[in-house]
């Protein structure tokens, strides 16, 4: 075997904090070979990021690292900053999760890349500009000349991440460390970015370290995988071994916990309760629109344009049914949920709840009806009042909607529901900051469940959680549904999760339904090009399948929702070429019983 690019021996990282010492990385040893792609997988808090930050000398001030980190014979650990700066950004480069905070906001992106080049390569400006343009082309940024003159805020998340990659590769590094490079991006954009990284690796023969919590991403990219937990490697090996023959129970657990789009029902997981044939319709949503006025121009007299967050969505939901709502950021899925729950006023349309039109009931009536529909939010910590004991948070719906109940009864019910969601009732007086994310999300579920509602909306309820916790919360929701038979609207950007928990799946694109079908039909018989692209972009923790797959990638960017032409991305033939014109509204066509597809141009 050739000499490794990076060789780490007994690296140990500790942080001094006011609450005592944190041992983030516990004496790990590994090598990165020439040209390989090493995956480091682990859940939050496993120390995977700190390990590499320590290796390149970017630890926070209260951290201390010991051991050896050797890059081509040079000791990097605790080396003087001057020596490190020669290597960092030129020979070893990093890409971070959030591309907006990693780019300097007041500098044009071209300048930032050129700066890197001039600093490290000592070449003149014209040459630097030429190379920058070439690199931008490499990461598939079109119109490089114009893009170079733009500022970071003018670019979308995916574009920014490409700029980051361009910056990281422009000096021809030996080693590229990518720390969760696609976690903040939509699935279709994630697929594009990974595609770019894969090509770069072929072209430049750079070694890549890919840090991720997502087994799917690792499977699609890496040759070798290290599984990390509590600051230690629990398992190391070639990707195929790790994925097909995991030895350590933790690796096994990670793989089991991962929702898979190709296998909605997995052994050991709680299955979806089948829907009874003659379930009555609980909720009927008819052509709901939510438009926000956005100030576009005009210095003295403002001009407003409607932002069509939700633009004519209709669906029905039966008692006990789960409807999954999928779409990328900005497709209006959360807005739709809030409009259905009447947390936001809708601009047009009708929401009929158990035979009553919700837009016609008055405030007091609506408050009484809130007993029947509740919501679970994405961020478990942010959705709980930090100054309230969790018992009080859980009791809040009861106290505001059934104020006549005596305190003792309320407490009794809180304890009961806490037990149901897997929380120790003795924790009733604890505060949210004393809990982990998963426990807090259980509190959120308990709060939504305490009134035994008939509908719960889960707005990205598991998206912010680690996969193992995510699996637990999904199991919890499914078992509660089996017990109480409530309906669910399950909103997520993650098609695999949605497919696992839903009877039917609705795909949204820029505020409109593009496809609505049963959980199997949507995967096996997707008709709309957008749905197909979405499915194709989902990573599966199965390296062989990933290698064999050719992806149907959407090219270009998610268009602006202010431009009325955007909604007809997939029906260009009917498009009127004017950004303000009233456009044709694609109809939903029933292609098979219960399978609706929006009109689109045949590809």
């Amino acid at each position: 075997m050739s000499v490794p690019v990076l060789s780490v021996k007994n690296l140990d990282v500790r942080f001094r904090t006011p609450d005592g010492e944190v041992h983030a990385v516990k004496s790990v040893t590994f090598d990165v070979a020439e040209g390989e792609c090493l995956g480091v997988v682990g859940e939050s808090g496993s120390g995977k990021s700190q390990l590499f930050l320590a290796a390149v000398g970017l630890l926070a001030g209260n951290g201390r690292a010991t051991g050896n980190v050797v890059y081509r014979g040079q000791e990097l650990l605790n080396a003087p900053a001057k020596q490190l700066n020669n290597i960092r950004g030129s020979k070893i480069t990093m890409i971070f999760q959030d591309p907006l905070t990693s780019l300097t906001p007041h500098m044009r992106i071209g300048e930032q890349i050129i700066e890197t080049l001039v600093t490290h390569k000592k070449i003149d400006r014209r040459e630097a500009e030429r190379r920058t343009l070439a690199t931008l082309e490499l990461v598939r940024i079109s119109e490089g000349k114009r893009r170079m003159r733009q500022y970071p805020h003018e670019l979308s998340g995916g574009m920014r991440q490409r700029v980051m990659i361009a910056m990281a590769t422009v000096c021809g590094p030996d080693l590229l460390i990518a720390d969760e490079p696609t976690t903040a991006l939509d699935v279709t954009v994630q697929a594009q970015i990974l595609e770019i990284m894969r090509d770069l690796r072929k072209e430049l023969s750079t070694s890549i370290v890919l840090i991720s919590h997502d087994m799917g991403v690792i499977a699609s990219m890496c040759d070798r995988v290290q599984v990390m937990r509590h600051g230690e490697f629990v398992e190391t090996g070639p990707a195929d071994d790790i994925f097909y023959h995991p030895k350590h129970p933790y690796t096994q657990m990670l793989l089991d916990a991962m929702p898979r789009i190709d296998r909605p029902e997995r052994p050991g997981r709680i299955p979806l309760t089948p829907l009874p044939q003659a379930s009555p319709v609980l909720l009927q949503v008819e052509d709901v629109k939510v438009h926000f006025p956005i100030r576009t121009s005009g210095t003295i007299l403002p001009k407003y344009k409607p932002l069509r967050a939700v633009d004519g969505v209709s669906f029905t939901l039966k008692e006990g049914e789960t409807l999954g709502v999928v779409g990328e950021s900005g497709c209006g899925k959360s807005t739709l949920a809030r409009a259905v729950l009447r947390l936001l006023p809708s601009t047009a349309g009708m929401v009929v709840w158990a035979g009553r039109n919700l837009s016609e009931v008055d405030k007091n009536e609506l408050r009484r009806l809130r007993k029947e529909f509740q919501i679970v939010f994405q961020d478990p910590l942010a959705s709980l009042d930090p100054r309230m004991k969790i018992g009080e948070s859980i009791a809040e719906p009861v106290r505001s909607l059934e104020p006549e109940l005596p305190r003792a009864t309320v407490t009794e019910r809180v304890r009961e529901i806490m037990e149901k969601v897997g929380l120790d009732p003795a924790w009733i007086n604890r505060y949210p900051h004393e809990f982990s994310g998963g426990q807090n999300q259980r509190v959120g579920v308990a709060r939504a469940m305490i009134l035994r509602p008939r509908l719960i909306v889960c707005d990205e309820a598991v998206s912010a959680l680690d996969v193992s916790i995510q699996a637990q919360i999904i199991d919890l929701i499914l078992s509660l549904q089996a017990e109480f038979g409530m309906s669910l609207i399950f909103i997520s950007h993650d098609l695999s999760v949605v497919r696992q928990v839903s009877h039917r799946v609705m795909v949204l694109y820029l505020g409109r339904v593009v496809e609505l079908a049963s959980r199997d039909a949507i995967y096996k018989d997707a008709r709309h090009p957008y749905t197909k692209a979405l499915i194709s972009a989902v990573m599966v923790p199965d390296p062989k399948a990933e290698r064999a797959r050719t992806r149907r990638l959407l090219t270009g960017e998610l268009p602006s929702p202010l431009d009325t032409r955007s909604a007809l991305m997939f029906l260009r033939s009917k498009r009127i070429d004017d950004p303000d014109a009233e456009q044709y509204v694609p109809r939903l066509i029933e292609v098979a019983p219960g399978h609706f597809v929006a009109e689109h141009d045949s590809a």
Partner: protein, 311 residues
């Protein structure tokens, strides 16, 4: 409703005492008590307050007692070549120009100044928090109108307003509280409004709405407790501001009237005879400076203790 029979472990757990939580404020308190400057300031402030309450009671002199034999006497231990009186051994801080004991008067002034500080701040706290929280929570046009009113009040010259009030309603003690309180709530309202606007965006407020909590319930149960941190800090910084304002008004002769006194009055009188009787200035000014320092240190300590970034 019939309860499902609980499992034995659950029954055990129910019988066991519920675990006591560690609230954010408890955390903050712990951090505050680790801050030496803040703790020393609190102790010193408590001492000054105790002195202000009890010391005048134990003194043989009343704050109005005049003794023409001891006019402008220095304390016995005062260094330098200054008028000394036979009986001045009993006057620890000396006497003023009409022969009144300055120790008693300084501490009596402390009573007035501290009361003004606390009461006026309390008034401004009540008005400011309510106004700011309502304005921020209502948002939109209501917010705009309420805030423009604050802006208008801000732009009125403070001293001018107080003078007008004093002239119209005659000079009295209560009016002073009202006048100062009525001005200092403006900043409080702005701070609370800003905090409310950011708290309103938080998901837990939306969660409360989904749980059917009404607007006033949300303000009372969710917004106000969550803006308490910055408000407490601002309160500790308002009290010295108010004490200063009162002193300033009294210095100008618009505040407390003889024979009652406050630090401002004493400093004003002391400043007049600074060259002949410096003790008449040094003691009240020293006490006031010390108090202001203490409040500022406590404010800084609280800010550090409540700052979530430190967590």
């Amino acid at each position: 409703m019939v309860r499902a029979p609980a499992t034995p472990t659950a029954q055990l757990m129910e019988r066991a005492q519920a675990v006591k939580g560690r609230s954010l404020l408890a955390d903050a308190r712990r951090r505050l008590f680790r801050n030496k400057a803040a703790v020393a300031s609190m102790a010193l402030l408590a001492l000054i307050a105790l002195l202000a309450v009890f010391a005048p009671l134990t003194s043989p002199y009343a704050f109005t007692d005049q003794d023409y034999n001891t006019i402008s006497c220095a304390p016995q231990w005062w260094p330098g070549d200054l008028p000394r009186c036979r009986a001045s051994g009993a006057h620890w801080f000396g006497t003023d120009a009409v022969g009144r004991d300055l120790f008693v008067r300084t501490l009596y002034g402390a009573r007035v100044s501290l009361t003004v500080g606390v009461v006026a701040t309390f008034v401004s706290l009540m008005i400011g928090v309510l106004y700011g929280a309502v304005s921020g929570f209502a948002g939109g046009r209501t917010d705009a109108i309420m805030m423009r009113i604050v802006d208008i009040l801000y732009s009125l010259p403070f001293i001018f307003m107080v003078i007008v009030l004093m002239v119209v309603f005659n000079q009295n003690f209560v009016l002073l509280f009202v006048a100062i309180g009525a001005v200092s709530w403006l900043t409080m309202a702005r701070i609370v409004r800003g905090q409310t606007l950011s708290a309103k965006q938080k998901e837990f407020v939306e969660a409360a709405r989904a749980a059917g909590v009404g607007p006033f319930g949300i303000i009372r149960r969710h917004i106000v407790p969550n803006v308490v941190g910055p408000v407490i800090v601002y309160v500790t910084l308002t009290i010295p501001g108010v004490i200063l304002a009162e002193s300033f008004l009294s210095f100008l002769g618009l505040g407390i009237r003889e024979p009652f006194t406050s630090w401002g009055v004493l400093i004003s009188e002391g400043a007049g005879q600074m060259e002949t009787a410096p003790w008449a200035l040094v003691f009240p000014a020293g006490f006031m400076a010390l108090t202001l320092f203490c409040f500022n240190f406590i404010g800084d300590g609280l800010r550090d203790a409540l700052d979530p970034k430190d967590r």
